[in-house]
């Protein structure tokens, strides 16, 4: 019988490292809210990406008197400086999307690395990393961001670094728990007993088995990134050129004329709102699908 032992274990390793992600994506898409969220997200992303190419007026040119809702030749009137609101809106999404995307990738990437390192070391490394995260977690993300941006002159790179730095400890916390859970399973023990080194185990056995939580976490962090980046833009801290269009900044620039010319505020508000709702629905859908997966495996 002992000869047959390696069989199931080997299968398990194969099955697991054979990639859980595509299956999870398929199952997530079967969830209604994922599909709805994906549609909304794709719509907003499309507006942001295609927008600059189809905008009727230039990003910085003047088309009429400031705050004129019915200026000739415009769809949504003019902003506080007399520029075309619709064109500014079409130009203004790229910065929000690009910055939040980058923040998410970097933040989640760093957090994941920390989690893999800490969750599967069971030494002082784990203690050191986790206590450091605890300290960082004590600061609310927005406060940390404002602190950084007050010290360094706001620039897109600083904003990305700041927001990502806010994400990393939170991602690390959640992912470490997931890693810890997987690290005790039999197939990991089996891999260990086969003499595999730690990093191959982390990447080959642990990582593929935490994709569920990872994707949920990514979706969630994307939502927060959008909100945070737009918020910093609103405060004028995104470090963009002063005349560059940006959804967050648009809200701030035009808020005083809201009673006269609401579109200059409403359009970016609607877009940012839809984007956060969309990404959140996707994250939620994946979470549900992943929960289903766990039950399957557990059962």
């Amino acid at each position: 019988m002992s000869v047959a032992e390696p069989g199931p274990i080997g299968n398990a390793i194969e099955r697991v490292s054979g990639g859980q992600a595509p299956g999870l994506l398929r199952r997530s898409l079967a969830v209604g809210r994922t599909r709805a969220g994906l549609m909304i997200t794709v719509l907003v992303v499309a507006v942001a990406v295609v927008g600059p190419f189809v905008a009727p007026a230039s990003e910085t040119g003047f088309v009429g008197a400031p705050y004129t809702p019915d200026a000739a030749g415009t769809v949504f009137g003019t902003d506080y400086l007399g520029r075309d609101v619709w064109s500014r809106f079409l130009y203004g999404g790229v910065s929000v999307l690009a910055l939040s995307g980058l923040c998410t990738v970097i933040g989640v990437g760093v957090g994941l690395l920390v989690a893999l390192l800490a969750g599967y070391s069971r030494t002082w490394v784990d203690e050191l990393l986790m206590r450091t995260t605890d300290v960082l977690l004590a600061f609310p993300a927005i406060v940390l961001a404002l602190l950084f941006l007050a010290v360094f002159e706001p620039q897109p790179a600083t904003v990305v670094a700041t927001v990502a730095a806010g994400h990393a400890p939170r991602v690390a916390r959640v992912m470490r728990a997931a890693v810890l859970d997987v690290a005790g399973r039999d197939y990991v023990r089996a891999a260990e007993s086969m003499g595999l080194r730690r990093w191959p185990i982390r990447l080959g056995d642990l990582l593929p088995n935490v994709t569920g939580p990872l994707m949920v976490e990514t979706g969630l962090r994307l939502t927060y990134s959008v909100a945070l980046v737009a918020g910093l833009g609103f405060l004028g801290l995104s470090g963009l050129e002063a005349d560059q269009a940006d959804w967050g900044l648009m809200i701030n620039e035009n808020r005083l004329g809201f009673t006269v010319q609401p579109w200059a505020v409403l359009l970016p508000v609607i877009a940012i709102g839809l984007l956060t709702v969309g990404t959140n629905l996707v994250a939620d859908g994946i979470a549900r699908a992943a929960a289903g997966t766990d039950r399957e495996v557990g059962g």
Binding site: A65, Y67, Y80, G82, E241, A242, D243, T259, Q261
Partner: protein, 541 residues
Amino acid sequence: MHESERRLIAATLAAGERRSLTRRDVLRGLALGTGAVVAPSWLTACSASEPVGGTATEGSAGQPKRGGSLRMGAAGGGPSDSVDAHKPVTKPDIARVHQLYEPLLIRDNAFKLVPVVAESVEPNGDLTVWTARIREGITFHDGRPVRPEDVIASFLRITDPKDPKVGAQLLSFLDRNGMRKVDDRTVEFALERPSALFLDAISEYFQGIVPEDYNPEKPVGTGPFAFDSFDPGRQSVFSRNEEYWREGEPYVDELVIIDFTDDAARVNALISGQVEAIESLPYGQISVVEGDQNLTVLESKSGNWNPFTMRVDVEPFSDVRVRQALRLMVDRQELIEQVLVGHGSIGNDLYCPGDPCYNDSLPQREQDLEQAKSLLKAAGQEGLQVELVTSPVAQGIVEAAQVLAEQARGAGVDVKLRKVDTGVFYGDDYLSWPFAQDFWGTRSFLAQVAQGSLPTSPFNETHWADKDFVSLVESAEREGDEDKRCDLIQQAQEIEYDSGGHIIWGFVNLVDAYTKKISGLEPNVAGHALDRYGFRHAWFV
């Protein structure tokens, strides 16, 4: 930073306490002041040229009536606000000073000097000794008469070398030990050097006359309203001065000045009837107020200006052709339309359009992109790329920078905007930015030059030090004859017009609003809101 804060720092500098403008000074200023614009008018008045209306008591809505409590919404203010006669910094401070105190003279709505606490102020032949006669029967709020000792004490307090007040720098030529009581109603002032600027220096609202034993905790002056209560950053209450020297004034029993740091809150307070009048109506809200039949917009021309400043001593602006090219690439009318929503008047790269000596023989400079390009080419600066440092230090500053950057593209110039925090803008690098912006109030030409266009000026952003210009200005200040002085001033202005470092595209109109329940406020050219806070001649209809 506020205009008067800038003067306060200048006063400190003049007193020799500090050799350079430090960040700490400026940040302290920022903490105190949140407002923008506002400033004085002196000598021959640096204001827009159309004085409107005579005394407001003969306003449009019939005979003035007595009674009522008038509430005004002021812009800005904070916990460090004061009611000190000589240290107004924020807009609410300035509004309060106008109620409590009065200087010897003041500029009226037609920009003529009129006597207030004084009956007359006369110079001797060479402008070195000036004699002021105090108005008969004028009293402080506590009933005591104004004596020569009080006048002398007021000026000693303003020019105190240990604690110079806002108006100290203006009086730099005053001999502190040369003030003398001649008789019970006459004071003599001696100057250290002859100056035609004396009358303007004493006719500022922050040069008020206070009693010899003045205590800013329990402020007493000769103004139309007496002190009741003061809650810094929130509100202050004043009651009618029953013994006021102007017959019948003031008409209301009580005046309440309420601080609003938020623009939208201030407008809402007016619309909902929480206040009767507000200053600084944001441009975006003008149509809202105009659409309300219970409200009136009060718009006043002013000499307030927001220039672009090019340093004449660093590349690329040290080449006069580059400065000329940048001045030619500006479409001034478009700046007024987009930045001020049309609420301004056009500039010709010269300040003080209201000065009687203003040189209006120089042709209005228009946008000429071809000429600008060829000047840049001649200077070897084709495809010029420059960084413009901008900061939201006053309404419309950053907006003007954005419009300029857009206009510059037409001349093939790439203006990179660097938007910095106000603290950074007025920090260590203030006055050394090669290409930046600033804001200034309404002044006479000579007074403005003393503040910003001489090598000795505290705020010479452009590092302007033209020798011919300096000698013309020095002669003008010593010149007693007005025609000769104007001739010198016009020559000086021509030099700035041809080769100066300012791009002066326009002058800002002040836009305020009040309800139709009150009357008696008129447009005022002095560069101060709400008819120079003229509530003494306002009444409830």
